[in-house]
């Protein structure tokens, strides 16, 4: 068929982007999915602006009239806690001339005044003033229009994690999160007061497709190949016990050690595209949560407490990642172009931890997660080198989504049962399995959101 309005040319059919034939043991992704500019526009519209995306934490606007700004796809949004203490999610655009209303990252305001013609809105988004309205000789039809800020169609909170959808045609938030919400519980339950963002947001870009980050967070196969320089430093630090270097959580863990034997981690896949990549980590003082280890065991039982100390990389499709490994990081993926992505990152921490635990968490974070640290740059450079290789060529299909298929089982396993989580699929792995079968979960959810926009 031809390229009708809103559709890309027929050469980019869904089955030419994702080759998903479970009965034959085939799951392949085409290079085009990371490269094609027209496809990228459709992704913004249908993946990011057509369904639930993560927009922030409720603690970013804690008090009445606190607000912060974010984006849903290309649309600037404003999340405001109104004077009644209720969070609202608004389109951050003045309805008059389309000017972005609030430009700062965060603040406190009971009124938002557009800089262009002074239309004024309250912290619920209601229009409180149209300048010189009575002299404006408006028609009766104008009087009948809604002059408030646009409301984002769906907005919801799960234990402090805020999600929004510009499309009203989405499942309820709890259904969207499904069983993966229990992994959010596991993170939040580490403190009776929940989680907060450590002050200091770090942003970086990389010149590659957003799905490279989506995959890398769940990629158990890359660690020893991509990060040997960091691993070498971990080993040296562990051997020396020097006072001035930070203790690393990963040093004591087996899940990535090539010599380790037995089940040491694995993956879980959930409905709507969410995945967990996890590994066993011991309960030691290298983890800042150690100060609460006994309290957590008493409150939640030893098995659940031990899970709180495991390495857990959780992706809530399509743009949120909660990485608990070397430290604890909240990442928001923001696609800017087919070959350019912005990452917004924070250290996320249990409220009320001691100053010593907080400092340890921060030090562990900086060395590993920052674009100025010793691990993330080796990831992002690999994404960029992959983007170079995404150029159209004779063999369109990548071979990077194949490991673990024979180990992938429907439902959960003994480890997921410990925390009462029922995934759609799971893999229980030794350290060298390096599961890639969980990527199917991303691309099937991707295909679901893109279904109306692609042929095939």
């Amino acid at each position: 068929m031809g390229s009708a309005e809103g559709q890309i040319p027929a050469r980019l059919r869904l089955d030419q982007l994702i080759d998903d034939r479970p009965a034959e043991g085939i799951f392949r992704v085409s290079r085009a999915i990371y490269r094609d500019a027209a496809l990228f526009e459709l992704e913004l519209k249908h993946v990011f602006e057509g369904g639930w995306v993560f927009v922030g934490l409720s603690t970013q606007a804690e008090n009445a009239n606190d607000y912060f700004t974010a984006t849903v796809g290309r649309v600037p949004i404003l999340i405001s806690r109104n004077s009644q203490g209720e969070l609202v999610c608004l389109v951050n655009v003045c309805p008059h001339k389309g000017v972005r209303l609030v430009r700062s990252m965060a603040g406190n305001a009971s009124r938002f005044v557009c800089p262009y013609h002074s239309w004024t809105f309250d912290s619920t988004g209601h229009n409180r003033s149209i300048k010189w309205k009575s002299s404006g000789c408006y028609s009766a039809a104008f009087e009948g229009e809604d002059h408030n800020l646009g409301r984002v169609a769906r907005f919801g909170e799960y234990r402090g994690f805020l999600f929004a959808s510009l499309s009203p045609d989405v499942p309820p938030l709890e259904e969207f999160l499904g069983e993966s919400r229990k992994l959010i519980d596991l993170a939040v339950d580490r403190s009776p007061d929940g989680l907060e963002l450590v002050p200091g947001r770090v942003r970086y870009t990389y010149a590659a497709n957003w799905k490279m980050q989506l995959e890398n967070c769940a990629d158990a196969y890359h660690f020893t190949s991509t990060h040997p320089s960091y691993i070498k430093i971990l080993n040296q630090r562990a051997a020396e016990h020097a006072a001035e270097v930070v203790t690393a959580t990963l040093g004591a863990a087996d899940f990535w050690q090539e010599g380790a034997s037995g089940a040491s981690g694995g993956s879980m896949s959930f409905e709507h595209g969410h995945v967990l990549n996890w590994g066993v980590m011991p309960v030691t003082s290298a983890n800042p949560d150690f100060e609460r280890a006994e309290e957590l065991a008493a409150r939640f039982g030893v098995a659940r407490r031990n899970w709180m100390f495991n390495m857990r990389n959780l992706t809530i499709f399509p743009n949120m990642q909660l990485a608990e490994n070397a430290s604890s990081q909240l990442r928001v993926i923001r696609p800017l172009a087919a070959n350019l992505t912005e990452m917004q990152t924070w250290c996320i921490a249990p409220r009320g931890e001691t100053p010593a635990a907080r400092t340890l968490r921060i030090r562990q974070y900086e060395d590993f997660f920052n674009p100025t640290g010793m691990a993330t740059p080796d990831d992002t450079v690999c994404y960029e080198e992959a983007q170079v290789g995404m150029a159209e060529q004779e063999r369109p299909w990548l071979q990077g989504h194949s490991r673990g298929h024979a180990a992938s089982a429907a439902g959960g396993n003994a480890f997921s049962e410990l925390i009462d989580v029922a995934p759609s699929y799971s893999v229980l792995a030794d350290s060298q399995l390096g599961d890639e079968s969980l990527f199917r979960t991303y691309y099937r959810a991707w295909a679901g959101r893109m279904a109306g926009a692609l042929d095939g």
Partner: protein, 165 residues
């Protein structure tokens, strides 16, 4: 040895920059005291940087030269793809203001521009901001006891290492 004159302080800063530009990272690390602080804060909001490294996030925070040695070891390791093709860098330092010395220590303020040619991607970047150096006389020569890098860039393009700030 006396505390440095403002002109001496400026020359010392230029020397540090030249060692980074020339890729002599071992001599660069040797400029620091064993218990030095090397700190690049992050941005707390649009207008203020984080100011307490123990309770707020920094881009880089080290207490102890040993950590800078780790950074150099990683750059030299041959095991870091981000360090495999080293970018070419050129530091420009200006507006050097040396505060009056306090005992054996001297605080020096300056601003910097670092131009970077990322050879791997053929991209150029500029990093800019200000430095605060606290210099100490140790064994008859100046050492850096504390360096704070106030980076004004808000978004790091892919990666930023110690030689480009």
């Amino acid at each position: 040895m006396d505390s440095p004159s403002p002109a001496d302080a400026a020359r010392f800063l230029y020397r540090e920059a030249a060692l980074l530009d020339g890729g002599d990272f071992e001599s660069w690390v040797d400029l620091y005291t064993p218990d030095c602080v090397f700190w690049m804060p992050a941005w707390r909001d649009d207008g203020t940087q984080t100011s307490d490294p123990d309770s707020e996030l920094s881009l880089i925070y080290y207490r102890g030269r040993r950590n800078l040695e780790d950074r150099v070891r990683r750059i030299r390791s041959g095991l870091s793809v981000a360090s495999a093709v080293l970018p070419r860098v050129c530091h420009l330092i200006g507006n050097v203001i040396a505060e009056p010395p306090v005992g054996p220590t001297q605080k020096v303020h300056s601003v910097f521009n670092v131009h970077v040619q990322d050879v791997r991607t053929c991209r150029t970047h500029v990093y800019f901001g200000s430095y605060e150096h606290v210099l100490e006389v140790e064994e008859g020569r100046w050492r850096i006891a504390r360096k704070v890098i106030h980076l004004l860039n808000d978004i790091v393009p892919t990666a930023l290492d110690v030689y480009a700030i």
